[in-house]
Structures are given as C-alpha cells and as structure tokens.
Symmetry: C2
Subunit: 310 residues, 2 copies
C-alpha cells in the first residue's frame, strides 16, 4: 500500500494535524457539500508569534532600537533625551514601561526617508542582525510547521495572506522570500506617506503618522478593506488575533481557525495570560468556549525552527 507523502512532516500525529488535513480535504473535494471554490479559499496568518517568534520583544521593535543606535552619532542630544537615552544606556525596562517610548522610537526609525530607502535599511538589518538568544538571523526564527502549513494550503489552491499588526512595508521586506507570500498579500499597519517629485523623479516619503493599525478590531477591518473577502481559515496566537478568528468563524460553510499556544519553554518560550508580548488570555477563553483548535507547540510540533542551511 502506497501512502501519499506527508504534507506536514514537522507536525506530530495528533488531533490537531488531523483537524487541519480533514478541513482541507473537506473544502477541496469537488461535490462535497462543504466544497469551496478556489478563489474563495482565503487563509490569513498573523505574523508575530504565529509565523515567526516574538520574544524577547517584537522583532520590529528590535529593528527600531538597532536603528536608533545606528543613528545616535548624528544626534548627540539623544544622550540626554528620553526615550533615546534608554536605548543608549540599555535601560530596556524603562523603554518598555509604557507604549509611548517605543512608539517614539518607531516614529524616528520608520519615517523621514523614502519607501525605497526604508526597504533598503530593513533588508540590510535582516541580513545582519542576530537574535540575542539563538544567534539566528531573524528570518531564521520562523516556525517550520507553519512554513509547511503555508505550502500545504497553497498546494490546495488556497491564497495565503499575512494579516498582522506589524508594519506592512517592514514585513514585505522578507515575506516573499521567507514565506512565499507576495507583497500584495501582506496586510499590516501603515504610516501616512507623502508623494513628491524630486529632481524629476517621483518618490514616496514616509511620515511619522499612523495611517492604519491592523490589530485586534483592526484585523477584520484590514481584511475587509485590503482583501474584500472573508477568510475561510485563519491562524493566530494572541488576543490581537481574536477578532480575526471570530470574523473568520462567523461566515457560513466550513471554516477552520487555530491559536498557537507558546507552551514550550525548552525549545522556544512559554508564555500566555501574563505576557506583555503576545498576550493570550481572552482569545484563549473564547477558543475553549467555542471549541477552536489550540495548538500546543510542545505536543503538536515535532520541530520548531527550520534547520540552518550550511
């Protein structure tokens, strides 16, 4: 007897893996009452904590911190100026004490340049910065089981989207190469921009103002504005994903969502209700109450991170 190749080899043979495969077979089998036309097979993925790690701090925050350090020599006044002095003296506790300090760093590091310049800066950082715990590049801090899920869904004619609170242009700098998700399928938070002609060349300048926040209630709104179709599958890991999962499950026909629970302190990090980063509290309660799948990284995932290429 010949078995088809396992599409999800980094997933243990648990009920979670079975639930994923059952759902995909259910919606792709022609003639089945739950068959979904390929163009409506929309699957949305949160990024931080779902496709890649988010500890000790969101990687985009680390980018902002590294950027402020790189710019500091041109801004000697930052030595005396909050919150920049927190960065320069390594006072992470003060920096993360309230949301305002990080937002100030985000504004400085993410605006005042053209979109092309910003993309270049992010790509350089992604090619050089290393994660403090693992020493991996940040793009190597992605979850192997989730990469397999992306591939499996696309092989079944799903269109895979990122729907994340992260910056849309930041994520596009690696989403295509790392996840196989093209720029036009990345939905995220965005800054305002200004269109300008300089020396006869058009350019887009990034402004230090928020255009759209794609988090919590913003996720179903982002899905509606950017994608215009309700997903039939959605994957998240925190309270920021709760509304996206509700919105996905609220449609008719077969639907599937799961929440990744970070319960593997040995191979990754263990955190949930009390974590500042990627808090999973209300969404967990709703998942339990409604019978949504909760993925245990410890039990459901055979491996966490992809093997490093030699």
């Amino acid at each position: 007897m010949v078995h088809a190749q396992d599409p999800l080899p980094s997933w243990n043979d648990t009920s979670t893996k079975k639930a994923i495969i059952d759902f995909v077979e259910q919606v792709t089998k022609e003639g089945s009452p739950d068959f979904v036309k390929p163009e409506e097979r929309i699957a949305t993925f949160d990024n931080d904590g779902t496709l890649w790690a988010e500890k000790p701090i969101y990687f985009q925050f680390q980018f902002a911190i590294d950027r402020v350090k790189a710019l500091a020599p041109q801004h000697p006044q930052w030595k005396e100026q909050k919150p920049f002095n927190y960065v320069l003296t390594g006072n992470m506790k003060a920096l993360l004490a309230d949301g305002k300090s990080m937002m100030a760093l985000m504004a400085v590091s993410h605006s005042g340049m053209t979109t092309d310049e910003f993309n270049q800066i992010v790509k350089e950082w992604l090619h050089t910065a290393k994660h403090p715990k693992t020493g991996r590049l940040y793009t190597q801090m992605v979850y192997q089981p989730m990469l397999e899920l992306l591939t499996y869904l696309r092989a079944n004619n799903f269109k895979t989207f990122i729907v994340s609170g992260g910056g849309v242009e930041f994520m596009r700098c690696f989403a295509e190469e790392t996840y196989g998700i093209p720029p036009e399928q990345v939905v995220g938070s965005s800054s305002k921009m200004k269109y300008e002609i300089r020396d006869g060349k058009p350019l887009l300048l990034r402004l230090p103002e928020v255009q759209f926040i794609d988090d919590k209630q913003g996720k179903p709104i982002g899905i509606e504005i950017f994608i215009g179709r309700r997903p039939i599958a959605a994957f998240g890991n925190s309270d920021g994903d709760q509304q996206m999962l509700e919105w996905t499950m609220g449609g008719s026909g077969a639907r599937f969502v799961f929440i990744v629970h970070h319960d593997d302190g040995e191979r990754e990090w263990a955190y949930d209700r009390k974590s500042d980063v990627g808090r999973l509290d209300k969404a967990w309660d709703e998942a339990v109450a409604k019978g949504w799948t909760v993925v245990s990284m410890k039990d459901d995932w055979k491996t966490i991170f992809p093997p490093l290429r030699q």
Copy 2:
C-alpha cells in the same frame, strides 16, 4: 502563413495598438533585456472613464442619488433639507455646484449599515438601474477594448488591479464578474468601519468617515500600501491618474502607460480640459511632454461598448 488570433480585435490597427503589443512582447520574452518576471508584471487600471464610462456623472454618485430617493419616504424632513431637497426636486445643478452636497449624499447612502447589507444594496442597484442616455445597465457601460486589454495582459501573466478613486467596496460588487478582477486586486477609497458583535455574530458597520482617498497623490500611496510593488503598466484617463502614471514610469526597466482621451462625442462623450467629471488637463500636458501614449477613443477604438447579450 498562419497568424495568431488578434488579442485586441476592438482596437484599430494604429500605432497605439502596436505600442501595447510591442510592450507586452518586450517584457514577456525570456532572455530579452527587458524581460520582467511574472510576479512583477503588475498592471493598474483606473476605473471611472478608463474601464467604464463616467458621464453624465460618476456612476457611484448616481447610486448615491438613487439611494437617497429610495430612503426619502423614511425621512420626510429631507423635503426641506439641503442637499436632500436638491435630489428630490431634481435640481442637479445645485447638487453638483460644490463638492460638499455630493459628499453629504455619499455619507448618507454609504454608511449606517453593515458591509454585507451595503454590498446587497449595491448589487440590487447594479442589476436594475439603467444609464439615462443608453438605457444599459451600468455594468454594460464598460469599454470593450479595455476588457480585451485586461484579458490580453492576464494571458501574458500580468496581474491586473483596479486603482481608483471610487469606493473599494462599491467596485468589488461588480469587478470580478465584469472585469475578471477579484476583490483582493481592487484598490480604492474607503470608509472607516466599526467591528461589533451583535446577537453573537460579528459584523462590520460602515461609518460616515473617510479612511483613505485613493485619488491623485493618493494613487501611488494606495499602490504602495495595498500592492507593495510598483506597476510596470498603468492606464488612466484624467488628472486623477497623473501621479499613478508618473509613479509607474518612474521605475526602472520597460514601462508602459496610456491616457484614454474621450474625444468621441458621437459614440460616447467628448470632454477633456474643461470637464468637471474626469477632467484631463495637466495629465495631458505631461503625456505630451513625456511622450506617453494618448488613446483616441475615436480613432483607436473600433467599438466602444460590448454587444448586449440577447
């Protein structure tokens, strides 16, 4: 000798048609110095005046007017209240005298309902409302040569997008069926929304506030935020498209844009520099100065509208 079937049969054999075909062959021929990988073959189309007509007024304005008329019995006070009384007495001149009146009608007709309800209302209107001059459904007021161009580009692995000042959700009600453009490839203006759970069901409420205006400078910004890649081809007809065409031509490698000039008063409408709707003035000057193609509807198009199905 066998000729391949003409991909653009509704285009006359003019230099415009040749320029389109030359460009497509140039970027799709493997090994050519101008070859563009399929995933980067992004083509953006304005909608009003480029894919469908826009006279005597933008069709979405006509929808708003018809909607106000339909709602009037529930709002007896509108008889005395500007700008609603303009609609009810047919005073189009007063209604269009300034932008504010139409914006008030747009707010009333486009908000206060869920996204699902709004889509239903628009679809009903599209299935019943007739154009005052031709008696056609509005979705039959599309340009046959442009439908062929969409098909031709897609056959050559272009990804076709709408990038229009029109409402993104309004356009999605017909873009897939009429143009073969799926919801996630429609970029447009949007309203703010509110996410809410009602009777245990999640819904999105449309609010009477603007989220994003996808016109003029907003078009390259919309392209950057929604698509995240610079188009290699773009098509418009008015000053509202000027920045999108500049942005498209500002990239490196082979690029192609054109402006549709409405110069056929007999088969369609003739208007340009002095028109309130779809004014073509500065963009025309730039097209001439930079050698962008200007399509003459009169000379370049064999037919304007598609034949009506029996």
